[in-house]
Symmetry: C2
Subunit: 198 residues, 2 copies
DNA sequence: GCAGAAACAGTCATCCTTGACTGTTAGCGG
DNA sequence: CCGCTAACAGTCAAGGATGACTGTTTCTGC
C-alpha cells in the first residue's frame, strides 16, 4: 500500500541499485583494499541482497572491472573543479597543487589498489590499461590548461612525464611514509619547474 | 643407511629449510603476487611439509614479514655489482641505468606487492617502513657513489628525490604499460640531469 | 488486467585457506 | 648409548568467500 507511493520505472530502480553497489565497491576499495573488497562486504555496505548483487554483476571480476570505470569517472569529477580554480590563480605552484590533488585523492588510492591487483588478472589489467591511456591524455590536457604560458617552452615535454611519474611514485610511498615528507616533495616539484621553465 | 651419508647439524638443517621457504616465498610474491602467495603454494614450491613451514613461520603474517627482509637483502645483492660496473664507466647516463636496475628488478616487483598489501596490515607496514628507511639511505649513498662529481652541485639535492620518485612511479606503471615507453623515460631522466647539472 | 520479463531476495553447496594438532625422525648433551 | 629436544611430517576442523539456485516482487507491453 505505502509501497505504491514510490513508483519508479525498471530502469530507474535498476540504475539506482547498480549505482549503490558501485559506490559501495569504491568505498570498500578505498577503505579496506582489494583483498578486503569481498562481494559480501560490498553487499553489506550497499545494503542489497545477494541476488541483487549477483544480478547486476554476475561475478566479482565483473564488479571490479565496473569499479575501474566508476573510479576514473569519479576522479574526473574531483579534479575538474580544482582545475578551474587553479586556472584563475595561475602559475606553476598552483598547477602542481592541483595535479597533486588528482594523485592524492582517496579515489587514487582505490585506483592504485586495483592497479596492484591487475597484475594477476588479465581482465582487470585490460580495463585499467584502457582507462590509464585515457587518463594520460586527460592529464596532459590538464597540464596544458594549467600552464598555457609554458606549453611551448623547450623543456615542457621533458618535465611533464617526470613530474607525473614522480607524483605516482610519491603517492605510492605515502602508504608507508609520513605526510610530513609530502610538503617537501611539493616544494621540490615546484622548484624544479621554476628551474626548468623560468 | 644412505641417509647416514649426509650428516648435518641441526642448525644447518634448520637454516637450509628456512632459506628454501623464504626463497619460495619471494618467488611466489614475484610471480603470483601477494594474494597468490598462500602458505600452501609456498609449501609446494619449497617442497616442505606443512609442519616444517608452520614450525619456522607460525603464521602467514610472520612469513611475509620475513620475506620483506629477504627481498631487501636480495635487492642489495643485485644492485651491488651493478654499481661497481657503473662507477667504472662513470657519468650521468650509466648512473641512471643502474638506478633503474634497482627499481626494475623482479625483486622490486615483490617488494611492490608487499608494499600494496601493507596498507591493511600494520605488522607488514612497519616492516616495510623500516626497510624503506634503510633503502632510502642506501639509495642516497648509491647516488653519491655513482655521481661523485655532482654531489656538490646546487641542483643535486633538488634532482635526486624527483628522479627516485619518478622511477618508483614508472616501475609501478610498468604493470600496465608497454616496455617501449621505458626507454623514453630513461632518456628523459638522463636529459633532465644533463639539463640541471651540466 | 494479465502474461512475461526484469529486478530483487534469500539459501546453500563447494572450494580454499589457515593454523591447530598429533605423530615421527634426526641431531645433541651427557 | 640413551634420553631429550628441535626439526619435520601429515591430517583435520573451522571459517570465509564465491556463485549457483530457487522463490518472490515489481514493472511493462499488449
Amino acid at each position: 500500500m505505502t509501497t505504491a507511493a514510490i513508483r519508479r520505472t525498471q530502469a530507474e530502480r535498476s540504475a539506482a541499485t547498480r549505482a549503490r553497489i558501485l559506490a559501495a565497491t569504491v568505498d570498500c576499495l578505498v577503505e579496506v583494499g582489494h583483498a578486503g573488497t569481498t562481494t559480501l562486504e560490498v553487499q553489506r555496505r550497499a545494503e542489497v541482497s545477494r541476488g541483487a548483487l549477483l544480478h547486476h554483476f554476475p561475478s566479482r571480476a565483473e564488479l571490479l572491472v565496473a569499479a575501474v570505470y566508476q573510479l576514473f569517472e569519479a576522479q574526473r569529477e574531483v579534479v575538474g573543479p580544482a582545475v578551474l580554480r587553479a586556472r584563475e590563480v595561475g602559475g606553476i605552484d598552483a598547477g602542481i597543487d592541483v595535479l597533486w590533488i588528482a594523485f592524492n585523492s582517496p579515489l587514487a588510492v582505490g585506483i592504485d589498489e586495483l592497479w596492484a591487483a591487475a597484475r594477476d588478472d588479465a581482465e582487470l589489467r585490460e580495463a585499467i590499461a584502457k582507462q590509464d591511456r585515457n587518463a594520460r591524455v586527460e592529464i596532459r590536457n590538464l597540464c596544458d590548461a594549467l600552464w598555457p604560458g609554458y606549453v611551448d617552452h623547450p623543456n615542457y615535454e621533458l618535465a611533464l612525464p617526470i613530474i607525473i611519474d614522480a607524483m605516482h611514485g610519491a603517492a605510492r610511498a605515502r602508504v608507508v611514509r609520513s605526510d610530513r615528507t609530502t610538503a617537501k616533495r611539493l616544494a621540490g616539484w615546484k622548484q624544479l619547474l621554476h628551474e626548468l621553465w623560468d
